[in-house]
Symmetry: C2
């Protein structure tokens, strides 16, 4: 049974490198990874904020928001 | 062939939660994960800094330093 992991990013170089490293490293038997570009999918900023995402790139993993490096505050994406 | 991933932390609550989430989510077929407590293994701070780790918790993955959330600056661990 796969759990869902969501990687939120905004298309910047920091995000893209983190995305490649993290999303390919997760156990594919356990995680179904969705990648969401909040710069273009602005309607989903709210969905990211609800469980605690404060900046991108971030990975929601088992309900825990993991902020990876620091690209951009969500405030910059509204 | 497993690649080595190193998770550096300093024992704080932020680190421990991030460690549990990340280290158990990586693909065990591809990564051999080592966990290093820099608060007790101060001699390894230099090893972490060399490839670009600036704060803990951090994960070195395929040579890329991924800073996860923000726990403590390495300067606090010298």
């Amino acid at each position: 049974m796969q759990a869902k992991a969501v990687f939120y990013h905004a298309g910047c170089a920091v995000c893209v490198e983190a995305e490649r490293a993290i999303t390919t490293a997760l156990d594919p038997a356990r995680y179904d990874v969705e990648v969401v570009h909040l710069g273009t999918a602005k309607a989903r900023v709210h969905e990211a904020e609800r469980p605690g995402v404060k900046s991108v790139p971030a990975l929601m993993l088992d309900g825990i928001p993991l902020h990876i490096n620091f690209g951009a505050s969500l405030d910059a994406l509204r």
